[in-house]
Symmetry: C2
Subunit: 299 residues, 2 copies
């Protein structure tokens, strides 16, 4: 697998995910048109589709076809996009730009932005339920995934991380608080992405445990990388204002621990994620490559 | 059943629902405490628990024990409360009072209010998934309920109704637009409440169809009654500012059709709801009483 082309793999996956999202989102022409336009605007604002791609690769790692979990994997991107829209709101991070484009509330106004986020969360769960009515997966596995996704996205997951992040702004935070914010705000949904692919792909209990360790490690590696890029990158490459986190007093790994320690932790988590896959065969090669790409990206 | 005491029935049901909600919501002491406090504040701000009570009564009507759908019925109240928190936000209806108490953003600030709403929606789906992991219901029925609830709450349900409501403010709306707003913003979740009880209670196909007709009729009756009360009630009884809808230019049935026609439609929908239950035995008595109470309430 030394000639495995990860960039081609990711690009092909992204096209499949985008096409599935286009199919699963309500058409712009359908009433209420403005809401559906806002939902599509943010979903198609140029995301890397990391979470759905992780779900597809995890399903492949346990021997399933990526295609068999494609629609369900889109639920992760819908939920992720909703959290971005709400995070950007004036009452939260008050961001005007996201991925180089005006944020939802800048284009559609605050009311529609809030409601578009709400509706994207709901649609994430709709998509999973739809897989049940189409007999794509057993209801037992689907309801387990609903619970896992809701747990990851809820008050003790993504939303909890966002609350503590906002409460910590401009204050000196401990390493424990920073770890809590990152584990919840970013880590839980990345781990959930891996687990969605594992569960729907039919992973054995030991495989599930290993993939959970993999997901936790890359979740943390991803966030450390984000923090590092906030310091080292440029507006053009990042698609959002670099250095913003540091200036707004947000806690970051380089800010709290220094750049050298942040880079060391990043490598450590990458190693842990690869070690978790030790017992998997070559079908886990995409997961291994994704872990490496995630920490070596430039935006 | 002529001596059936509907008020005692509703009061006993409310206590069971409140106790279940208390058990299902994260404790205030659990991190992030402020978020969990905000979630509980709005859930326990004195709602009538109409939606969970409808689910319990619908389950009873098809021969199931109300207790068997109690936790699942709470998902309706969690989702309903989230929509109220977001509707009250400054960017939406900008309400300072709800059920006689300061609204969430007045107490906790806008950021936490938005996130508390988000987390309550997520928790609604968590609660349904939890019933699967506890084997309270078959996964097949639960995933069907997830899909039905998500459909009712989503962009072509509650959220769609709210968008069109906001877009219509201060403008002359047609009877069709008013019907769309009401059917979606209020009606869909009330119908979903009845159907949740029906599905999890094991309703036969014909029973489902009848209960769906019942749910649609009382959903509309409920909203017409709300509109009428907005004109005729007082601040003290209503717990929110009466006449506010009319002054803010919101479309209402009495405003669009006149009070006499609104009262006629209200009675018509009540009659339709009772007719839908014609084939049910005395176990549907609570559902019949709830329909009557809903249109004869004073707040």
């Amino acid at each position: 697998m030394s000639d495995f082309d990860i960039q081609a793999y990711l690009e092909a996956g992204r096209r499949r995910v985008d096409s599935a999202l286009d199919r699963l989102l309500p058409p712009e022409a359908e009433q209420p048109a403005n809401l559906h336009k806002a939902m599509r605007y943010s979903v198609f604002a140029g995301g890397k589709r990391l979470r759905p791609l992780l779900a597809l690769a995890a399903a492949e790692a346990v021997g399933a076809q990526a295609e068999s979990v494609l629609d369900e994997a889109c639920s992760l991107e819908l939920v992720h996009t909703y959290t971005l829209i709400h995070d950007d709101l004036p009452a939260m991070d008050n961001d005007d730009l996201r991925r180089g484009m005006p944020t939802s509330h800048k284009v559609f106004g605050e009311a529609v932005a809030i409601l578009a986020g709400d509706a994207l969360q709901t649609l994430g769960f709709s998509v999973l339920a739809r897989a049940g009515s189409l007999n794509r997966h057993s209801p037992g596995r689907l309801i387990e995934v609903v619970g896992m996704l809701a747990g990851a996205a809820g008050s003790c997951g993504v939303i909890g991380g966002q609350v503590v992040d906002i409460e910590s702004e401009g204050r000196q935070v401990s390493r424990e608080t920073l770890a809590y914010i990152h584990a919840n705000k970013t880590g839980k949904l990345i781990e959930a992405a891996v687990m969605l692919g594992a569960i729907l792909g039919g992973a054995e209990p030991e495989q599930r445990q290993a993939l959970s360790r993999y997901g936790q490690a890359i979740g943390l590696a991803f966030q450390i990388t984000d923090d590092i890029l906030d310091v080292t990158s440029t507006l053009e490459r990042l698609g959002k204002t670099p250095g913003k986190d540091a200036r707004s007093g947000k806690a970051t790994y380089p800010g709290l621990l220094g750049m050298a320690e942040a880079l060391r932790m990043q490598q450590q988590q990458l190693d842990l994620s690869l070690a978790a896959l030790a017992e998997f065969n070559e079908k886990a090669e995409p997961l291994r490559h994704i872990a490496r790409v995630m920490v070596h990206r430039s935006n």
